[in-house]
Symmetry: C2
Subunit: 104 residues, 2 copies
Amino acid sequence: MEPIDVFKALSNETRLNILHWLKEPEKHFPKQGAHLPKEVSIKGGVCVGDIQEKAKASQSTVSHYLNMMQKAGLLESVRYGQWTYYRRNEEAIHQLAEYFKTEI
Amino acid sequence: MEPIDVFKALSNETRLNILHWLKEPEKHFPKQGAHLPKEVSIKGGVCVGDIQEKAKASQSTVSHYLNMMQKAGLLESVRYGQWTYYRRNEEAIHQLAEYFKTEI
DNA sequence: ATTGTATATCGATTTTTTTCGATATGTCAA
DNA sequence: TTGACATATCGAAAAAAATCGATATACAAT
């Protein structure tokens, strides 16, 4: 997890928004999980299409953003069928906050 | 203090290094404060030239970096004669760490 | 006043990032 | 197996950031 990649990922309003939204997915994505059979639980995960709709950017841009944020370590993804669910990587983000406090 | 400006400022290795160096100025800038009469104390401040020498980038680039970091709130500067001393804005950085922990 | 030094700003070029539409890939359903 | 859909990847154009040398500004010392 390269700090610089994390900071780059955070240097954009839309990406920052996505991170925010995913903090309270049920609040910001009311129809969250619509595609999932209820026995499958992808807690806190939201599919790309829902994020795209809210972010108001093109599909390819949002896909790119999510990939970038995942590579930076901020998000993790789970694929279910044709959908990819993204959620925050809370553990990594917590470590990051520690890093920020002690190293920056 | 706009989070995005802060993250942009942190998205560069040299700038990240500068922030690091200024955490322990006496360690990384042995000849620190050489220009200052001892009754003037700019605690933790290092002049642009010293930073430039260590950063190995051009004078204009380093000046630009420092200005950017100051605008982002990470640094503060004091001018003494022909020198500008930059030091960390510890209070702002501390607040930032709090922001990171609670908002990111 | 003139010269030298430190830093800031300007202008231009190169590099990186953003952003998109088009296309490819993978999955589901009929 | 065909068609529809979700997402990923590709390739390109536009926008922004990095970076430099040259020049300006501000101060110091002679």
